[in-house]
C-alpha cells in the first residue's frame, strides 16, 4: 500500500507539475484571473456598498446567499456532533471528593449517594486539580479576548475580520474557560440549551434579514431595501445590513465551536474533560 501510494502520488504530482507550465507567471498583474471580473468589483464596491473592505463586501453582500448556506453548514456540523456523541445516560460509578483533605471516594453502587455540601463535592473520574496560576491568568485574559472578538465582528467592514473570525475568537475564549477551570464551570454559566438556541438564532438572524428585505419589497438579502428602517443613516444601509449579517454569523459560529468542543472532550457526557 505504501509503495502503491508513492507511485500514485509521484504520477499525480508529475502531471500537476507539467500543468503548471501553462499557468500564468506567479504574481502577474495581467493574468486572466485578475483582469476580467475582479476589476469591476474593485472599482465599484465603494460606490455601491460604502464598505472599504472588499472581502467583507463580496462575502456578505454580492455572495450573501452562498454565505448563508455556509453558516447553515457550520450549524449542521454542530448538530452532527451533538447527534453523534451526546450521551444522556447517567454514569453508574460516582466519585466524591472530601474537600478538606482532598481524598477521593469511589462508589460502585448507584444507589448510595452522598449529599454534596461543605464536606463533600460531586466529582468525575477525570477530574484533575487545576492550577491557581493558570486560573488567575485566564480569568484576567478572557474578558479582553471577548472584547477583541466583538471588535473584530463590529469592524469587519473597515479592517480585516468579520463574523467568522470574531465568532471563532469568542468561542475559543469560552473553550479557554473550560480548559483553565473545568468543563462544569463553563456549562454552569453557558448551558447547553443556551448554546443550541444561540446556534439556531445566528442562522435565523441571517435568514431573517433576507426575508425582511423581501417584505420591504426587494429581493432576498437586498439590504438596500431596509433603508426606511434606519432613517438617520440611509446612505450606509448596505454596510449596516452586512453588520447585521456578520453578527448572525458570529453568534452561530461561536456556539457551534463550543458545542463541538464540549461534545468531543467529554464524549457527550458533559461531565469532565481536559
Amino acid at each position: 500500500m505504501k509503495f502503491l501510494g508513492l507511485v500514485i502520488v509521484c504520477l499525480t504530482g508529475g502531471l500537476l507539475l507539467y500543468g503548471t507550465m501553462d499557468l500564468p507567471n506567479w504574481g502577474d498583474p495581467a493574468s486572466p484571473a485578475s483582469t476580467h471580473l475582479s476589476d469591476y468589483y474593485i472599482e465599484h464596491i465603494v460606490e455601491e456598498t460604502q464598505v472599504p473592505n472588499l472581502v467583507t463586501a463580496v462575502l456578505a453582500d454580492y455572495r450573501g446567499y452562498d454565505t448563508m448556506f455556509e453558516t447553515a453548514v457550520v450549524f449542521c456540523a454542530g448538530l452532527a456532533c451533538f447527534l453523534l456523541l451526546r450521551d444522556f445516560r447517567p454514569g453508574k460509578d460516582r466519585y466524591y471528593r472530601h474537600i478538606p483533605t482532598g481524598v477521593m471516594l469511589h462508589f460502585k453502587n448507584p444507589d448510595t449517594r452522598m449529599i454534596p455540601g461543605n464536606e463533600f463535592e460531586h466529582m468525575d473520574k477525570d477530574w484533575v486539580p487545576s492550577d491557581i496560576i493558570i486560573k488567575t491568568v485566564c480569568r484576567i485574559l478572557i474578558p479582553f479576548i471577548q472584547i477583541y472578538a466583538l471588535y473584530v465582528v463590529a469592524h469587519g467592514d473597515f479592517s480585516p475580520g468579520g463574523g467568522f473570525q470574531g465568532g471563532v475568537i469568542f468561542g475559543s475564549s469560552l473553550i479557554l474557560m473550560a480548559i483553565s477551570y473545568n468543563l462544569k464551570t463553563l456549562l454552569k454559566r453557558v448551558t447547553e440549551k443556551f448554546l443550541s438556541m444561540f446556534a439556531a438564532t445566528g442562522v435565523l438572524i441571517y435568514v431573517g434579514l433576507g426575508v425582511l428585505a423581501m417584505i420591504m419589497g426587494g429581493q432576498f438579502l437586498d439590504y438596500g431595501m431596509l433603508a426606511p428602517l434606519v432613517p438617520w443613516d440611509p446612505g450606509h444601509i448596505r454596510a449596516l445590513g452586512m453588520l447585521g449579517v456578520e453578527i448572525g454569523v458570529g453568534i452561530a459560529v461561536m456556539s457551534v465551536m463550543v458545542i463541538i468542543y464540549v461534545n468531543i472532550v467529554s464524549e457527550g457526557r458533559h461531565d469532565e474533560g481536559l
Binding site: 467568522f164 472532550v265 464524549e267
Partner: protein, 81 residues
C-alpha cells in the same frame, strides 16, 4: 512582497507538514499541525490576503488544534506509523 520571506516560510511549511505526518505521537502531530497552520497564516499575510490569514490564525492554529488535542485525549496517543 519580499521573496526571501516567502521562500523561507514555504520551506518551513513543507518541513512542518512532513514532520506532522511522520512523528509517532499524535500529540506531537497536533502541535506540529498547529505550527503548520500558523506558518501558513504568515504566508497568506505576506501575500496580502489579510482576511484569509486572520481566519487561518484563529481557526487553524487555534480551534482545530484544540479539537485535535481533545480527540487525542479521548482516544489514544499511540500510532504505528
Amino acid at each position: 512582497m519580499l521573496w526571501p520571506i516567502d521562500l523561507i516560510v514555504l520551506t518551513f511549511v513543507i518541513f512542518c507538514a512532513i514532520a506532522a505526518i511522520t512523528v509517532r505521537d499524535l500529540l506531537g502531530t497536533a502541535i506540529l499541525f498547529s505550527a503548520y497552520s500558523f506558518l501558513m497564516c504568515l504566508l497568506w499575510a505576506v501575500m496580502g490576503a489579510v482576511d484569509v490569514a486572520f481566519t487561518e490564525a484563529s481557526v487553524g492554529a487555534g480551534v482545530s488544534t484544540v479539537f485535535l488535542v481533545a480527540a487525542v485525549f479521548r482516544t489514544s496517543r499511540r500510532t504505528k506509523d
